[in-house]
Amino acid sequence: MGGGVASEAARAAEAILMVADEPVEPQLLAQLLEVSPSRVEELCDELAATYESEDRGFVLARVAGGWRFQSHPDLAPYVERFVLDGQPSRLSPAALETLAIVAYKQPVSRAQVAVIRGVNADAVVRTLCQRGYVEEVGRDPGPGQAVLYGTSRLFLERLGVDSLADLPPLGDFVPGPEVVEALERGLGADDT
C-alpha cells in the first residue's frame, strides 16, 4: 500500500466495504472518502490486485455497479459446507414468532417486533431478509425513519398461499398497554 493519503483512503474503503451488506457504488465511496470516483476505481482495483497477489480467501469484486467483498470462487466447496452444516436448517420457534409478527402486522419496524415479542429481534429479521422471506417495504415517516418490513412473494410461495388474505385470520389480539403505546408511537428507541 502506498503512503499517506492513498493509504488512509484505501483503509477507509476496506472498512466501509467490510461492513456493507450490498455492493457499494463508486460514487458513494468517492463522496465518503472525499476523493474522485476515478480515484476510487483505482484504489479498489489496487486492493483487489493486492488480495489476489496475496492469495487471500476473499476477493474484492465489481458487482451490480458497485464493489463488494465476497468469498473466492475457488473456495466454494468450503462455503457450501458452511451453508449446509453451519447454518440452522429450520426456523427456531423464536424465528417463527418473528415471522408471524411481520406477516400479520406488516409494515412493521424491528423495534416494534421487539416490543411485541419482548426480546430483540434484529438478528432474526436479518436472517429472514437474507433468506428472502421478509423484505424492506418502506420507511417510518416519523423521526428516526425506521426501516419497515413486510413479507415477500417467496414467503407466500413457500407457505403455499396466494396472498396474505389466505392466512388464518388474526382473532382477538389484545395487546398489553406498553405494546399499544409502542405501536402508536411508531417507535424509535425506547429507554427506561
Partner: protein
C-alpha cells in the same frame, strides 16, 4: 403542592427549597450516594444532619406517582437515618437498652453495605458503557451469503404451514398468565401520611404549650405511624415552627410551638402508605 390557603411568607418558602429537588433519583441508594458523595466533598465536612435533611427534603419532593414499594424503601432508610441522627445528637451516658443500640448499629452497617454495593454496580455499569463505546467504533460484517449460495441454503420454511404461522402469532400475542397475587386482605391497611400528621400537629400544637413526643404518639400501635409522626415533627422543626428539647438524655422529646400562629404551612404532601 401547598397545603392550606393563601401564599406562604417568602421566608418559609425559601426554607423548604432544596437543591436536591432538581434531580431525579433512581431510588434511595442513588439519592443517598449523591448526598454523601456529591462534589467530592471534604470527608470531614460531611454531616449526618445535612444528609438526613437532604434525604427528608427529597422525600418531600417525591410526592406524586410513587409506587408503594419505592416509598416504603425510602421511608425505611429515612427512619434509619433519623434514628442515627437522633443518636448522634444525644451522646451521653449509656443507660439505653444495649439491644436497641446494637440493632441500630446493625441497621447502619446494613445500610452501609448496601450503599457500597450500589456504588460498585453503578461503577461497573459505567465501565460496561465504556467498553460498549470503544467496541462501537468497529462494526461487524453482516453481509451474509452471496446469492449463489442461497439456493443451497435449506428452505427454512419447509414443513411450515399457515396454521403453524398462526399458532406462532397466537403464542406471542396471547396475554401472559397473570402474575401470582399475594392476598393481603387479612393485613390491616396502613394509612398514614406525613402531610396529615403535619396537619394534625399544626392543629394541636399552637397554644398547647410543651408537649412530649410520647404524648403526641399516644395510642399509636403501628411503628410506621410513629415514624411518620416523627418525620412530621422534623418537618415542622426544619421550618422553624416548633422547638425541640430534651430535659435529660434519652428522656422524652419535648415539642413546643414557636411559629407565627397565622403562618401558613407549606410543603408536605401526602405519601399514603
Amino acid at each position: 403542592m401547598v397545603c392550606g390557603a393563601g401564599a406562604p411568607p417568602a421566608g418559609i418558602l425559601r426554607s423548604v427549597s432544596y437543591a436536591v429537588h432538581t434531580e431525579i433519583f433512581e431510588g434511595p441508594f442513588d439519592l443517598l450516594l449523591h448526598l454523601i458523595l456529591k462534589d467530592e466533598v471534604d470527608l470531614y465536612e460531611i454531616s449526618l444532619s445535612g444528609i438526613v435533611d437532604g434525604f427528608l427534603a427529597h422525600l418531600d419532593g417525591l410526592v406524586v406517582a410513587l409506587d408503594l414499594e419505592l416509598t416504603t424503601e425510602f421511608l425505611v432508610i429515612a427512619a434509619t437515618l433519623v434514628d442515627l441522627k437522633a443518636r448522634r445528637l444525644l451522646p451521653g451516658p449509656v443507660d439505653v437498652e444495649v439491644d436497641e443500640e446494637l440493632a441500630l448499629f446493625e441497621q447502619r452497617d446494613l445500610l452501609l453495605a448496601r450503599l457500597i454495593e450500589a456504588k460498585t454496580f453503578r461503577d461497573a455499569g459505567n465501565a460496561i458503557e465504556l467498553l460498549a463505546q470503544a467496541a462501537s467504533r468497529s462494526l461487524p460484517r453482516t453481509a451474509g451469503l452471496e446469492e449463489r449460495f442461497l439456493a443451497l441454503a435449506p428452505d427454512l420454511l419447509a414443513g411450515i404451514t399457515p396454521a403453524d404461522l398462526h399458532a406462532a402469532w397466537l403464542r406471542v400475542t396471547s396475554p401472559a398468565p397473570p402474575p401470582p397475587r399475594v392476598v393481603l386482605d387479612h393485613v390491616a391497611p396502613i394509612r398514614v401520611s406525613v402531610g396529615e400528621a403535619v396537619d394534625d400537629l399544626v392543629a394541636r400544637l399552637p397554644g398547647a404549650g410543651l408537649m412530649t413526643f410520647r404524648a403526641l404518639t399516644e395510642g399509636m400501635i403501628d411503628r410506621m405511624e410513629v415514624i411518620v409522626r416523627f418525620l412530621a415533627v422534623l418537618e415542622l422543626y426544619k421550618q422553624g415552627l416548633i422547638e425541640l428539647g430534651q430535659a435529660v438524655t434519652f428522656g422524652d422529646l419535648e415539642v413546643s410551638w414557636v411559629g407565627d400562629p397565622d403562618s401558613v404551612f407549606a410543603g408536605v404532601d401526602s405519601y399514603d402508605g
